[in-house]
C-alpha cells in the first residue's frame, strides 16, 4: 500500500517534469535576463538533482501541499477538497446502486440460465459493455433534458436555490444527479452482472447446493442463503479491481454533465494545462482508489473468514 502510493507520487512527479517548459518561464516577465533566471531557478530549487526535487515535493505532498494552481492561484489541496464531496456523493451512490441491482439480475440470469430473462440480461449487458459511457450520457441528455425536458442537463445546484432550505437544496441536487448517476450505473452494471452470473452458475453446480436440494430446502432459500452470498464474494474483489475504471469513467461523466467534482476539476486542468491541479487530482484519485481497494479487501476478509490476511 505505502510503496504503491510512493510509486504513484513518483510517477506523477515524473509526468509533471515531462511537461514542456518550467515554472520560471511562467512567472517571469521577458525583461529578466538569463543570469537572473538562473538565480531564480536556484531559488526555486530547480537546479538540484531530480531525486532531491522529488523528495522535497513529496515532503510537501505528504503535508497536503500540492502547490498552487497556475490558473486561479488557489492552493490545489483546497480546490480538491472543495470538489471531493460532489465526487464522493456521485461515485458512492453509483457503487451502492450497482451492487443492489447487480445481485438480483445476475441471480435471475444464472438461475434460469438460457431462459428468456437470461437472454435479455446477457444481451443488454453485452450492449452495455460496448457503450462508450460518455455517449450514453449524451443520449440520455438528448432524451431526458432536451426531448422530454424532465431533467437538467448539467450542473449541481440551480442558482436560484442558493438560499433555499436544506431540504429543497438536497432535492435539487438529487434531481441534477439522476442523469450522471444512470449513466455511470449502466456503464458499470454490464460487466459486473455478467461476472456475477458466472459466479452464481459456478456456485449452483457445487455439491453443497445439490446436498441442500436433496435435503428438500426450498429453492428460494437455496438461492438467497447459499448462492447469493457465496457468489457475491468474488464481486468484492472485482469491484476493487474495477475501481480505477469506475472512477476514471466518472471523470468523463462529471465533465460531460458539468458535475462539480474532482473529475471535472482534473479534465478542466488538462485543457488549461494547469499541471499542479492535474497532478493533485491524479495523486488524490489514486489515493481514493487505493483506499477503495483496501476496503474491498477488508470486506472480503470479513465476508469470508477462510481468507487470512
Amino acid at each position: 500500500m505505502v510503496p504503491l502510493l510512493l510509486g504513484i507520487t513518483f510517477l506523477s512527479f515524473l509526468l509533471m517534469k515531462a511537461t514542456p517548459g518550467d515554472p520560471t518561464q511562467m512567472f517571469t516577465d521577458p525583461t529578466i535576463g538569463a543570469k537572473d533566471l538562473i538565480q531564480l531557478k536556484k531559488n526555486l530549487g530547480l537546479d538540484q538533482p531530480m531525486l532531491v526535487q522529488y523528495l522535497k515535493w513529496l515532503q510537501n505532498v505528504v503535508q497536503g501541499n500540492f502547490g498552487y494552481s497556475f490558473v486561479t492561484g488557489q492552493p490545489v489541496m483546497s480546490m480538491i477538497l472543495d470538489r471531493l464531496p460532489a465526487t464522493l456523493l456521485l461515485s458512492i451512490s453509483s457503487l451502492c446502486l450497482t451492487l443492489i441491482i447487480t445481485l438480483p439480475m445476475g441471480l435471475i440470469s444464472a438461475y434460469k440460465a438460457d431462459g428468456f430473462w437470461d437472454h435479455v440480461i446477457t444481451f443488454t449487458s453485452f450492449i452495455g459493455m460496448a457503450l462508450p459511457t460518455f455517449w450514453l450520457g449524451l443520449m440520455l441528455m438528448l432524451l431526458f433534458s432536451i426531448g422530454l425536458n424532465w431533467m437538467p442537463s448539467s450542473g449541481f445546484l440551480s442558482p436560484h436555490l442558493l438560499t433555499a432550505s436544506f431540504f429543497q437544496k438536497s432535492l435539487d441536487i438529487l434531481h441534477h444527479m439522476v442523469l450522471p448517476l444512470i449513466t455511470l450505473l449502466i456503464g458499470s452494471l454490464a460487466g459486473l452482472t455478467r461476472y456475477y452470473r458466472f459466479g452464481v452458475l459456478h456456485v449452483l453446480s457445487q455439491d453443497y447446493i445439490k446436498a441442500a436440494r436433496a435435503r428438500g430446502i426450498s429453492e428460494g432459500k437455496i438461492l438467497y442463503k447459499h448462492a447469493l452470498k457465496n457468489a457475491a464474494l468474488p464481486i468484492l474483489t472485482l469491484l476493487g479491481l474495477q475501481l480505477p475504471e469506475l472512477i476514471g469513467g466518472a471523470f468523463v461523466i462529471e465533465y460531460l454533465f458539468a458535475w462539480p467534482g474532482m473529475g471535472k476539476l482534473g479534465v478542466d486542468a488538462v485543457f488549461a494545462r494547469d499541471y499542479p491541479v492535474l497532478m493533485g487530482t491524479l495523486v488524490m484519485s489514486s489515493v481514493l482508489i487505493l483506499l477503495g481497494s483496501l476496503l474491498a479487501d477488508l470486506a472480503y476478509q470479513w465476508a469470508d473468514p477462510r481468507i487470512q490476511s
Binding site: 449524451l138 443520449m139 475504471e245 479534465v267 487530482t281
Partner: protein, 268 residues
C-alpha cells in the same frame, strides 16, 4: 460457433475490407458544403445519414472513421499485447524477486485511472496518430501481462517444461517455443476484447479533443462537435455512436465465442 459469433465475424470482416479499400473509391470524407456550415442536415436523399456542421456526409465520414478507429484499435492492441506478453513471460519465468518488482509496477499502473493517465500523456506529447496509439497501448498492457504471467506460472512446473530444462534448452527457447504457444488462445481472446476497449478509449480521447485531430475522421472526433448541436441534430451523436457500439459488440461476441471454443469445459 454460435449464430451471433458468425454475424459478428462477417460484420467485422466486411468492415475491415471496406476500411482497407475505401481510399480507392471516389468518396471524400472532407467534401463540405459551404452553405450548410453550422447547420447540420437530417438524413435525406443527398446524405443518407445526414450531415455534420460542415455539411460533410455523416455516412461517408463514419466509413472513413472506421478506418482510423480500427487502425487505432489494432495497432494499440498490438503494442499492448506485445508489451504485456513480454512482461508476463519474463515476470512469470524470472526469479521470484524480479517477478515481485515487476508485478508491483503492474499494480501501480493499474491503480491509476487509465483515462486520466491517457489524457495527461496526450497533453504532454501533443496529440497525433502516433501518440494516440502509443498512449492507449502503453496504458492498457497490464491486464495481458497478468494473464500471461499466471499462465506461465502454472505452465513452468509442468512436465514438458521440466523435460525441456533437463535437456539443457535455453530459457529463451523454452519461453518462446514451449510456453508461448500455450498462452496463444488466451492472448487471441484478450486481444480481441482489447481492440474493443481501445476503440472506446480512442472515442473518449477524441471526444475531449485530445485524440484524433481534424480533418481526419474517427468515430470519436465525429462526436466532438456534436455537443454543440444537441438540439439541432441528434444524428451527429447517434451515427458515430452506433458504429462504435456495433463494432465493439461484434468484437466482444467474437471474443466470447472464441473463448468458449478454446475452453470447451467452461460452462457458458
Amino acid at each position: 460457433m454460435t449464430f451471433k459469433a458468425w454475424v459478428s465475424a462477417w460484420f467485422l470482416g466486411i468492415l475491415v475490407l471496406v476500411a482497407l479499400f475505401l481510399p480507392y473509391t471516389s468518396l471524400d470524407p472532407n467534401q463540405f458544403d459551404p452553405s450548410c456550415i453550422g447547420q447540420p442536415q437530417s438524413p435525406g436523399a443527398s446524405a443518407w445519414l445526414g450531415t455534420d456542421d460542415f455539411g460533410r456526409s455523416l455516412a461517408v465520414r463514419s466509413l472513413f472513421g472506421a478506418r482510423i478507429s480500427l487502425f487505432v484499435g489494432f495497432v494499440s492492441v498490438f503494442i499492448s499485447s506485445t508489451t504485456g506478453t513480454l512482461v508476463g513471460l519474463m515476470s512469470g519465468y524470472a526469479p521470484r524477486w524480479v517477478d515481485d518488482v515487476v508485478m508491483r509496477c503492474v499494480d501501480l499502473m493499474m491503480a491509476i485511472p487509465s483515462i486520466f493517465l491517457m489524457l495527461t500523456l496526450q497533453v504532454i506529447f501533443k496529440p497525433s496518430m502516433v501518440t494516440i496509439v502509443a498512449v492507449i497501448g502503453f496504458s492498457s498492457w497490464m491486464g495481458t501481462a497478468r494473464l500471461v504471467r499466471a499462465q506461465v506460472l502454472s505452465l513452468k512446473s509442468q512436465l514438458f517444461v521440466v523435460a525441456a530444462k533437463a535437456r539443457g534448452i535455453s530459457s529463451y527457447k523454452i519461453l518462446f517455443k514451449h510456453i508461448l504457444p500455450h498462452t496463444l488462445p488466451t492472448l487471441v481472446v484478450s486481444s480481441l476484447l482489447g481492440i474493443g476497449s481501445a476503440i472506446l478509449s480512442e472515442s473518449v480521447l477524441s471526444f475531449l479533443g485530445l485524440g484524433v485531430q481534424p480533418p481526419h475522421a474517427s468515430w470519436g472526433n465525429m462526436l466532438e462537435n456534436s455537443l454543440n448541436y444537441l438540439r439541432e441534430s441528434p444524428f451527429m451523436i447517434i451515427v458515430p455512436g452506433a458504429w462504435i457500439i456495433l463494432t465493439v459488440v461484434a468484437l466482444n461476441f467474437l471474443g466470447d465465442a472464441l473463448r468458449s471454443m478454446f475452453n470447451p469445459k467452461e460452462n457458458r
